[in-house]
Symmetry: C2
Subunit: 428 residues, 2 copies
């Protein structure tokens, strides 16, 4: 398919952080690179919750993969869906074709993990793709619209109840943003309901929110959430989810909107490798990030369980970037007949934002909370956004939102998933 | 539903230009106003083709209706779908309820007219809503992605053929933008295909493009389109449309993407009025814009056939704004027991843009073409965009696009219409 010269062919599956940075690292290498992705865009996932909560437009946090590599002539980008990997035959099997490789970097990322309850997805969507974000935005905004029209008081209260499951960074960010939407953005926009009466409930199974953070920062995050009006319930396990309700070990909460941020598992492509996987479906890679038994096959990013020292590298963007670069560097070494090197994760710290002027940051031994942590978060996220236009647009949207408390993207798009729609329904 | 005081209740169906300006005109009137719309946002339709062609993000040209009326306390905005109007009983029948009115302004707009061939809609989507625009964007960008992977030369050529049906402003704008995308934006982004070889064909049934314009401007528009590489076929009737082909009276064109901009018809809500309609389903209104036989029921915007002098007011935004204002003014007069006044359309001229520095404008006796017409178009569209944020964002996107030839919103969103999707498909 991508024929041509005799240089080794490196196939990269996935245009996320690991895949993009792997391809960039191969810029001057004597290889042909093909990036395969189901979507045409790289997604800046750390800001995805802002699309879901109507602060940013979808194109603000996405960049066409082929635009990123417009000038890197050894890269071909193909929009294609991978069905499985034939590691023995060094082939990638697509849903509509196949492709040989000399080296492969599997960087297809992770998806939501419903821990054996896939039917919960319908009632409590997760947040991994732009379409997930637009679906969440649709549900949140529609809940307020329905509440405005509802005459039954009990039902109105349910519509204005939002449950976020999972107290990791995504759950904390979603809960904080939802509370701000209700209390500030929507203020004075409605006539029959008062959005500030909305309940936002954050459920976390472990004893504290943001479990990987320092205990004092978890405590601070909880207080900052509570200041915003979020009800934080830690040590609470979810037993069941259905249409409009969440059953915990303590009670049944009736809620119009339920969002899922409680965990991820690796892309199912890892299952086709025949390699050892961990509980989250991640490939347990060798120290050089190769898949044991396949020196030419590497895994990077959220689907790789890579040991660095005593710990595994976490499922965050900086780790994915480092792994992508490292896998590519090892391919360059292998092409040059050099020995590959072990991966060492350089921990740059952790950040989580909660809302306007509210965040926590843990950088080495330093701990920050409140406004200064929030500024750190802003600067770092703007800095790492791929593409100049995106940076400018996001900065402007954020400035406008900071000044006016408004959210620029309060638009309900129709594209509902899992439903067939008539393209031209009657009525206004 | 919107209970309360004893002031007359004015219901406005539709949050487009006519509906929005009608409600604004009622700001200080002693009435309660309810705006009903199926969507939560007002759409700046003149720029919709820019969302379809990836120049703007959807939220750039849309504003939540309830945000527009946040401070106008006599307006309640409800997201609701109208099934029909019971003009005798002065009731609006919703798909899930009903609402009484004292005065009604029907301003539900128009939709695509396939002239008795509704099955064409699937093969040749039109451009009336944001979801239409995102669907067109998806088809156009996906066509290039598929061409990049296609090995069969003939099939590749088909994928890179784009047919736009209809040579009015929407068709001209779409065709010009498509040609620019292929020749400039996509340049050097692909490895296996050369986007500048794409064919863009504009089909128009009448002898010239932009029929309502002065003949010399039509000729100029045609030349400007041809300079951009668009094949303009006037006097060409479409006989049939199917999967990947358009049959005209001259030939059958195989094309991967077919877009429809050949005409509109009024919202089917007009049928429930029992009033006389024209061929396009528009209500033939009395001089004061009321529906004959119903002094309390007005029609405004694209669904109203309003005579002004010898001609009917055209289906453009300025006419909709003027009709909306006039209908509201007549309601104010009726409430004050004054006689209603006849509508007079003030023609502000016509503008159509073709591409970068290319446009035609007809303002009174003045004719403009090329760069100066394009600047006029830019200034007027920025000026009338609803909402400060939208203006700034659109200006920035345009400036960036002008400098870089890039388009900021080249993101394929998934939400396909008319198809059921698995929320979590396998693969990368």
């Amino acid at each position: 398919m991508a024929g041509g010269d005799n240089k080794p062919h490196v196939v990269i599956i996935g245009g996320g952080f690991a895949g993009i940075y792997a391809a960039k690292t191969l810029k001057r290498a004597p290889v042909r690179v093909t990036i395969l992705d189901r979507r045409n865009h790289h997604l800046f996932q750390p800001l995805l919750y802002q699309v879901a909560t109507a602060a940013l437009a979808a194109p603000d946090i996405a960049a066409p993969i082929r635009k990123i590599f417009k000038r890197q002539k050894n890269v071909t980008v193909l929009m294609a869906e991978v069905a499985r990997i034939d590691a023995g035959g060094k082939r990638v099997i697509l849903t509509d074709g196949e492709m040989d490789y000399d080296y492969l970097i599997l960087a297809a990322g992770a998806r939501d993990n419903y821990f054996g309850n896939p039917h919960w997805a319908k009632f409590a969507p997760g947040l991994k793709t732009i379409d997930d974000a637009l679906e969440i935005r649709r549900r949140v905004l529609t809940a307020f619209e329905k509440a405005e029209r509802e005459t039954d008081k009990k039902r109105r209260r349910e519509l204005m109840t939002f449950v976020v499951i999972g107290g990791g960074p995504t759950g904390v960010e979603l809960a904080g943003a939802l509370s701000e939407i209700a209390r500030r953005t929507m203020a004075r926009n409605f006539r029959n309901v008062d959005p500030s009466e909305a309940r936002v409930i954050l459920l976390e199974g472990s004893p504290r929110v943001l479990p990987p953070f320092d205990e004092r920062l978890s405590e601070s995050a909880k207080r900052q959430l509570q200041d915003l009006g979020v009800e934080v319930q830690t040590g609470t396990m979810v037993r069941d989810i259905g249409e409009g309700f969440v059953e915990t070990d303590a009670e049944t909460i009736r809620a119009g909107t339920i969002l899922w941020g409680a965990g991820v598992k690796a892309s199912p492509l890892t299952e086709s490798l025949g390699a050892e996987l961990d509980r989250g479906g991640r490939v347990i890679v060798a120290p050089d990030l190769s898949v044991p038994g396949h020196a030419e096959l590497f895994a990077a990013g959220d689907l790789a369980a890579a040991k660095s020292g005593d710990d595994f590298a976490p499922g965050v963007a900086p780790a994915a970037i480092q792994m992508g670069r490292h896998a590519a560097m090892n391919i360059k070494r292998a092409v040059a007949q050099k020995e590959t090197l072990p991966f060492v994760y350089a921990d740059k710290g952790m950040l989580a934002t909660i809302g306007r002027s509210r965040a926590v940051a843990q950088l080495g031994r330093l701990r920050f909370r409140g406004w200064i942590a929030w500024m750190l978060w802003l600067v770092i996220h703007i800095f790492f956004l791929i593409g100049f236009r995106n940076r400018v647009m996001v900065l402007l949207d954020w400035t406008a939102a900071y000044v006016t408390f408004n959210r620029g993207a309060r638009i309900i798009l129709e594209g509902k998933r899992g439903e067939c729609e008539d393209p031209h329904p009657p009525g206004s």
